[in-house]
Point group: C2
Chain length 198, copies 2
DNA sequence: GGAGTTATTCACCATATGTTGAATTATGCT
DNA sequence: AGCATAATTCAACATATGGTGAATAACTCC
């Protein structure tokens, strides 16, 4: 019988093990958060020794940061939302939101970021930063009044969708087609953006 | 100088150390979740040796369950919401929601439960159970159509409020007076309960 | 084909964590 | 006063974890 156990030393061929580790890290951080993910679990998921994770990505914090890298520039993605003015901005925002969250490649890092924000582990900077970097500019571009409050309302609805649709995966929200979801939530977001505040 | 270090053995007086441990556990689980909370941290917060935590509450899972005990019966609290029928149910639901979440005694266990649901650690039963125990009966009492979907919409907004107001504590939501919050969100919930679905 | 570089694993280390059992002190009952 | 019981800490164990350094194997380039 031929031994299938991984021998020591470099493997034959040109496997992109670094990428495999990154994929595994994204999935685990997205599923279990920072504290709940161990380097050894990442290594096991990538079929690799734990030391190799350190070899490629230094400390665990570094790996977390690398796994959280989103290849989406919020300003670019949000531009079409802001361009059309306030009218219909709720619906356009929802479409952009879904295009990013329904794509697994972007969802996994975003889930990691979300878990990082919800966890208490030194994500203080993310807490403020997210508002200021994503929703703040959008509010400015839309030129709405009381931007902090309106954006907090918008965020509260979007965050709820994230939790129920992507984390807890409550039906029928988890399987609802994007168009239907947009149609359902657009009036809410639109009211938060330009409706009466109370 | 008199030694203030805790000597060995039973302490004089009748301190309710068990209760102190439970309070500390509630706060830490609420703030840091299950994985992020260590028995030693709970013990330190209660000014007690770690072994005493085990003495009173067995394993860490047992302590978690004990800390999550909510002294609120959902059926009792939700009764007035359901009694008035669908009209104004959104506003009444929000008032009950705030009365429970703005009270620290009930908020801490609820935060623990929430973190348990969001964390992946075997909270599968909580995921379904919460819907079926809290929102399901409410939907039945209100006699609305498509209860699963409407309740998921309601939950998505309420969960978003929990995250922004009580966990991340985003202003101005975190400090917003209850009345204002009710007035702001009531139309949304009411539409989810009896408005058109798309 | 030999030298250097890179990829990969193994064997450890220090620390943290959940948990247990014995030892010590106070309280309560008789 | 004396004894059982409860409360509390100490010491320790087994395990898991993040991290490091050396050893081994494959690849690259001359």
């Amino acid at each position: 019988m031929t031994s299938t156990a991984p021998r020591r030393g470099r493997r034959p061929g040109a496997p992109d093990t670094r990428a495999a580790i990154l994929v595994a890290a994204r999935e685990l951080f997205a599923a279990s958060g920072f504290a709940g993910t161990t380097i050894r679990a990442v290594a096991a998921a990538a079929g690799v020794d734990a030391a190799l994770v350190h070899h490629y990505f230094g400390t665990k914090d570094d790996l977390f940061l690398a796994a959280l890298e989103v290849r989406v520039d919020p300003r670019v993605v949000l531009a079409p939302v802001a361009d059309g003015g306030v009218d219909g901005a709720g619906e356009r925002l929802l479409r952009v939101f879904l295009s990013v969250w329904d794509d697994e490649d972007t969802r996994l890092p975003l889930l990691g970021i979300f878990r990082g924000i919800v966890e208490p582990t030194g994500a203080q900077l993310a807490r403020d930063g997210f508002m200021r970097m994503v929703l703040g500019p959008l509010a400015a571009a839309l030129g709405i009044d009381e931007p902090e409050q309106r954006m907090a309302l918008v965020a509260s609805q979007l965050v709820g969708i994230v939790v129920l649709r992507y984390i807890v995966q409550v039906e029928p929200l988890a399987s609802m087609p994007g168009d239907r979801l947009v149609a359902t939530y657009a009036p809410t977001l639109q009211r938060y953006l330009d409706g009466p505040l109370q």
